[in-house]
Symmetry: C2
């Protein structure tokens, strides 16, 4: 039996080789970028007017601030030039600042009227400073600057930046293919009416939902609890997917054929059993082709915890995602746990009005009580060295 830290380390050493694929900008949201994105021009690419109003040369402003309006500079028009530098031009937000001007006053601060067929403007409020209401060329970024580096998640802001530099296609991490496998002869299909001694399958759906929420496609299988069915099923699944996630069949039961069958099929065991509750019987291995097998315990809370604590960070790392910093939450009450195991406490955590992230424990009735997960939004990871965990102390939080 190994510690949770050792289990994490061994899992992380088996990350998948990073592969990339090009996808369209419209499909790229939530993918992991795998190319550097550089500014193709300055940001902004020209001295950009930020208010509708008038542009003029600050140094030439007269007492009283009255100016002849020469022309109008619209957004999307080539740059115009102020001919007489004691005059002004009307300018629109998003326009290039006209030549020979250096300051913009917004309409709210200007009166404009016609006189003798000539448009005139008077400043009601004198400018605060030369250069106001102009977003200067290159102020935000310079041409060639690194805007986004490989490993970032393409969130909406990143998509906007990619669009602005003309990326219709983006190189991102290729998503691995998942096979999700449940075993257990007590399990029947969701659409079936169970006998009194049967229950419906649910773990496979939880795993598929978790993967689909992260954008990963997965295929679900259920194998009968016979050596033969499990061997044939696993052999086929190994040939078809990059990663297998099993639930059930990894304990010491009569029909727990999963570990030995995986080894017979050439999947080398890297560990079996972790000093944790729930999830002790967790088995992990890889084969020579680099296919990775997470054989998780079949109790629903165990499957759920192992997925979020081990599979998800491994998947992020395999996708080349930049590390998330760990998150800590503060216990709202004392908790005791005697065994010398890492205890994954089910909690409902929330950031309060003082900005403190507080985790309220909901103990539930053990690793079979998956309805308890509905009240929670994560696990608090309580270390094995202690058995009393005090209200007010902070521990690592694993969200789900």
């Amino acid at each position: 039996m190994i510690s949770t830290d050792d289990a994490s380390r061994i899992v992380m050493e088996q990350r998948l080789p990073l592969k990339t694929v090009d996808i369209s900008l419209e499909e790229a949201t939530s993918h992991i970028l795998q190319e550097p994105l550089l500014a193709d021009r300055d940001f902004p690419p020209f001295d950009r007017v930020t208010m509708d109003g008038i542009a003029y040369a600050f140094a030439n402003l007269q007492e009283g601030g009255t100016l002849v309006v020469e022309d109008l500079q619209l957004a999307g028009e080539p740059q115009k030039t102020l001919q007489d530098t004691s005059h002004c031009l009307e300018v629109m937000t998003g326009a290039m600042l006209p030549n020979n001007t250096d300051t913009v006053s917004r309409y709210e601060d200007v009166e404009i009227w016609e006189e003798d067929g000539q448009k005139r403007a008077r400043l009601l409020v004198m400018p605060e400073k030369q250069g106001q209401n102009i977003h200067t060329q290159g102020l935000d970024q310079r041409v060639g600057d690194l805007l986004l580096e490989p490993g970032v998640v393409l969130n909406p802001a990143a998509i906007a930046v990619a669009a602005s530099i003309g990326k219709t296609q983006l190189q991102v991490s290729r998503l691995p293919g998942f096979g999700i496998i449940s075993t257990g002869d007590e399990l029947v299909e969701v659409g079936q009416l169970p006998q009194p001694y049967q229950i419906r399958r649910s773990n496979g759906y939880a795993l598929q939902a978790a993967l689909s929420g992260m954008g990963f496609p997965a295929v679900q299988y259920h194998f009968e609890d016979t050596r033969d069915a499990i061997r044939k099923g696993l052999q086929k699944a190994l040939s078809q997917h990059d990663v297998l996630i099993l639930s059930g069949g990894v304990s010491k039961g009569k029909k727990d054929y999963v570990p030995e069958t995986l080894e017979e099929l050439g999947v080398q065991k890297l560990f079996h059993q972790v000093k944790q509750r729930p999830g002790k019987p967790f088995w992990f291995g890889v084969n020579e082709e680099g296919k990775v097998v997470f054989a998780l315990p079949g109790n629903p809370v165990s499957t759920f915890m192992c997925f979020h604590r081990y599979v998800k960070p491994w998947l992020d790392a395999s996708m080349g995602k930049k590390d998330d910093r760990p998150v800590y939450a503060v216990l709202t009450e004392d908790v005791s746990f005697e065994p010398a195991l890492t205890y994954f406490l089910q909690v409902e955590a929330h950031t309060d009005a003082k900005g403190v992230f507080r985790a309220h424990p909901y103990l539930g009735h053990g690793s079979g009580d998956f309805a308890n997960l509905l009240r929670c939004n994560g696990f608090l990871e309580l270390p094995p060295e202690k058995n009393t965990f005090r209200k007010g102390d902070a521990y690592p939080f694993i969200p789900f």
Copy 2:
């Protein structure tokens, strides 16, 4: 000009009528449930063995704890009966507890051997208590109990619960159809090489990415800045979508035709201009058919902020989602902001090792500096009544 609170309230009063649709369990992740889910049986539905080992009658245990093994009760088998109540049965995790037994000892605590053709077991560790290692019928939930109520997001745990009660189809909120519209003659397509006075479109992509991250389909349009193009385009978009999100064309510029054109087309203005920075020119309205129009300012940071501060909560409410509690983050340094406006400060926020959610400000260069959003993960909403905001104080956090 109205306050952010008034703007929020007016937006929230115009939530869409809730409509529902049935979808398959496999597709239901992240949707909002719109039917109550009740337990169809007890959870667990029978006294369920939670460890591989032996089951026996606690009261009949003999000194020394040696028992004859009568039979084997597997998971997925009909319930067996212990014939001689001083004997035991081997039992597997997930099995029904056999008749006439009430306690389970796990294999780790038992020695099993064959003697005279008879399998026998001896307890190496006496049981801690009667009833151990049994997940009792109905302990977690009783038949008829409300497991999930309308308005919850179908996360993986909820999907597992829905599977376990046989829901192959789920009634969820119908997703409205979005039209995303940008205006601005300085904007060119992403695939195009801009002239020096042009920039590429990006706001529409940011909005589409934000909506797709929430699961909503959207169609993007770009209209030329002429009255005619905007009128024709808006008319068509209003007929085809439930919600329009515009960016640009709502200020005081010569070509800001959006507000008056919307009113001409029967979209009633509910407000125009909000006491906030960025995002002051925000326009909001509805037409008689209940089509809702968010006309957001075109500066990228303004568009982005208004979407996350107004559109997203409105959308959650329209989908019948249960309210999220507000989240607060703690400023890591003093910030000053003079104008009597609500200031949406760009921040990078993270929960530290003490469980405190800390927000580090990145001011950027105004509402055109959208590259600054790449360093941030939300806005801190700083109220207009103050102009100095102290390190250590907590303010509402709007994640993006």
